[in-house]
């Protein structure tokens, strides 16, 4: 299989406490959908790519149910801000701040993401 160098070479990394952690190739991220990543400490992150190729990462655990499913939610834009809606009970979370749009008292951890070649 021939690889298209300019896209498959890019790696997606998350910033953790002890530095950048490489997760996957950028090419496996489908715009508008997420993937789950297992972090070294056993926690999980949900990574998303939007149609403008911006990347976001939040904790994968849905705080309302405890299930690790946020990576399987639908993304969208609400008043100019990107969000993911939990696939279980549909609460929406701001992908940049982690704040729940439907219950401001709830906030999920967010991660910094970057691509490196």
């Amino acid at each position: 299989m021939t690889l298209a160098v300019e896209t498959t070479d890019l790696k997606v990394q998350l910033q953790l406490a002890d530095g950048w952690f490489t997760v996957c190739d950028l090419s496996v991220l489908v715009p508008g959908r997420g993937v789950a990543a297992l972090l070294p400490d056993g926690r999980q992150a949900a990574l998303f790519r939007d149609r403008a190729d911006r990347l976001y990462a939040v904790d994968n655990r849905d705080p309302f149910t405890g299930a690790a499913v946020l990576s399987r939610g639908l993304t969208g834009t609400h008043q100019g801000r990107p969000f993911v809606a939990s696939p279980l009970l549909k609460q929406r979370f701001d992908l940049v701040s982690g704040v729940c749009l439907d219950d401001e008292a709830v906030r999920i951890p967010v991660y910094e993401v970057r691509t490196v070649s």
Binding site: C24, A36, L38, R72, L74
Partner: protein, 869 residues
Amino acid sequence: MTATPGATPTIVLVGHGMVGQRFLEALAERGLTATHRVVVLCEEPRPAYDRVQLTSYFSGRTPEDLSLTDREFIKDHGIELHIGDPAESIDREARKVTARSGLVVDYDVLVLATGSYPFVPPVPNKDATGCFVYRTIEDLLAIEEYAKSRATTGAVVGGGLLGLEAAGALKGLGLNTHIVEFAPRLMPVQVDEGGGAALLRTIERMGLTVHTGVGTQEIVTDSEGAVTGMKLSDGSELAADMVVFSAGVRPRDQLARDAGLTVGERGGIAVDERCRTVSDPHVFAIGECALAADGRVYGLVAPGYEQAETAAATIARDEAAFTGADLSTKLKLLGVDVASFGDAHGTAEDCLDVVYSDSRAGLYKKLVIGADGTLLGGILVGDAEAYGTLRALTGSVPPISPESLVLPAGAGSGAQLGPSALPDDAIICSCHNVSKGTIRGAVTEHGCTTVPEVKKCTKAGTGCGSCVKVLGQLVTAELEASGVEVDKGLCGCFAQTREELYEIVLALRVTSYRELLDRFGREGARGGEGCEVCKPTVGSIIASLAPSIGASGYVLDGEQAALQDTNDHFLANLQKNGSYSVVPRIPGGEIAPEKLIVIGEIARDFGLYTKITGGQRIDMFGARVEQLPLIWARLVDAGFESGHAYGKALRTVKSCVGSTWCRYGVQDSVRMAIDLELRYRGLRSPHKLKSAVSGCQRECAEAQSKDFGVIATANGWNLYVGGNGGATPRHADLLAQDLSDAELVRLIDRFLMFYIRTADRLERTSTWLERIPGGLDHVRDVVVHDSLGICDELERLMREHVAHYRDEWAETVGDPEKLARFVSFVNAPDTPDPVVSFVPERDQIKPDLPLLTIGLRPADDVLEGSAQR
């Protein structure tokens, strides 16, 4: 008050029904709960609930849903509420009330709100096993238990308002229901002869049997004393397994009588205009136990609420008086709208009636008009849409002629007079006495923009709920008037409805969500990501039309994958712990033993929990994301395909065994069910679609509770549409009779495609049929008589769907790029998600959910669901 100086004066309320609760709220509003000790003695085992809506228990409302009591309210106001502890005696001299538990409370003010009890005519055996009254949640639970265990036929004594409610309850329990009414028509108090006749026809059409003009003479019992029937005054006998007495109520005034308070000749505690008893200034009586100053006992909730307000105001030394009340009512009895208001029977001098009657449609509308053109009152049966407006206009000369007020819209000069024609002082909510001006003020001054906000702000619409429709129209009109555009758009991204988007996608052959959003989305949404509402909706429209507009019919292809809800995206049903369930298609519920064994083997090998579904299929729970393709591969190998249990699509076509095995069957229902299921499988629609085929009129497949149901006749098939089970059950309507196989399929093709074209997002066929203008008649005109000339197109769309169907599971299993998405972690595809774990229960597994506050359990003390991995 006369309390001991320094001590807090005490108000004791006896009875915690709807009126009692309203009284407590009125006390709180006037600040009296802060200055007084308030003690409530309540006989029933639960605090105040909505008795008016009792029958809605049968459409899924639980006793908790019916509750009117906010525990916070009771707590915040320091009210001492004693449940299940009725007052037993009053010592007026010492001003003490003694409850059944022995509790003694001193009072400064005593308020009696003891309500009423059902009147049971003194016929022999009236107390036999199987005789009930219908008044409380406990009565209802007792009726339900008896009906389920030992009754198939029930009789209701009384054809008034309460009798029809009770009949609705029995019908809701699936009993053959009879109504016995002594008067010559149903609802003799509220409606006249014409209205009663319209009501009778509609109720009989629902399968209830009505006996008017006969009385009950005796309840007949068997040797064990259980009801077997009743003897009627015309000499006939009616077989019945249970009897519900619902022939009116009487004031519960025994406690007051025992205390020496004056009661009326026909019962009721006599009170003055301030709701104070005529015998004792320290004692008040409100609601159905009170005989008001105008000499009447009011059995409706609105006057009771007004009395509660009056008593509270008097205790607070405000000016208030209760001099009588409007007896207007609007009800939905057995699904029929019945309303009467003002001088409904035309008792005023020189008044004239304007009547519109359509027996075929079960409609009857009468307005009573005074000599000077004033609207005095009226009766509406079958369509009470105009009730809110007409009641508020009562007492004035309507702005348009009375004839046009009763004629249906579209019939000549029929005009719709909206609530905008009402003056500001017109009362919209008579339960809480809220005027149109107050409702407008909630929008203009308090910034309310929705009906729920206005309800919270003004209390309007929170009593019987009959004004909610008018409330909605008023809020919309007021918002429009103040320049706020009322948005009917699908979501924040699209100003169009689903139907409009469907037309755009079809006409312009738009195959991309992004293109649709960027060209037709709202200004601010263009170029954005869309949202979780419009993405699956547009995904579904594109999937429904795929072959006709040149899109891929495979929902995981390209951009379409990003539009699907998680269930469609993973072709399985997400469960609470993040695992999935898998349902293979079993057309018509028919399955050979070998295939049954395959399902068993797969479930065993993957450690899945199995359960038989309501749609004659088998659901396998507890599959992890990464196991899905392995499970599908084995199912596809054995000849199974996706059952689309995850999609807004055709689910299942149930069937009975039909003429092949059953001695009653008249057609081969299994074959027809399989044909229909295979024809419509994979069809994406605004909501899920369920179907069934019964082989004879005994209807064992329950086809009338389905979106489209088919029942065999000696001559072919009858097609029913718009049925529903679930939370809002609806019997399907007959669309066409005695169809051949080909006629049946053609009609279903048209019906489904017309529904897919015009329904809102997540709107089942039942709500769609009730919403679209013209209802069933319009749908019949379109799909049977082709009134819009679109049937060829509808049929073509369905032919293309059928021709292009492919199994999504097989397609995914054969596509390595798609399979790569079915992993637990993108960076650790072979590590199962540690949150998904199971514990044993009844020889199978169940999810072991992490405790939200504590976090994950250590991984080594749980049973893994996939021992084979």
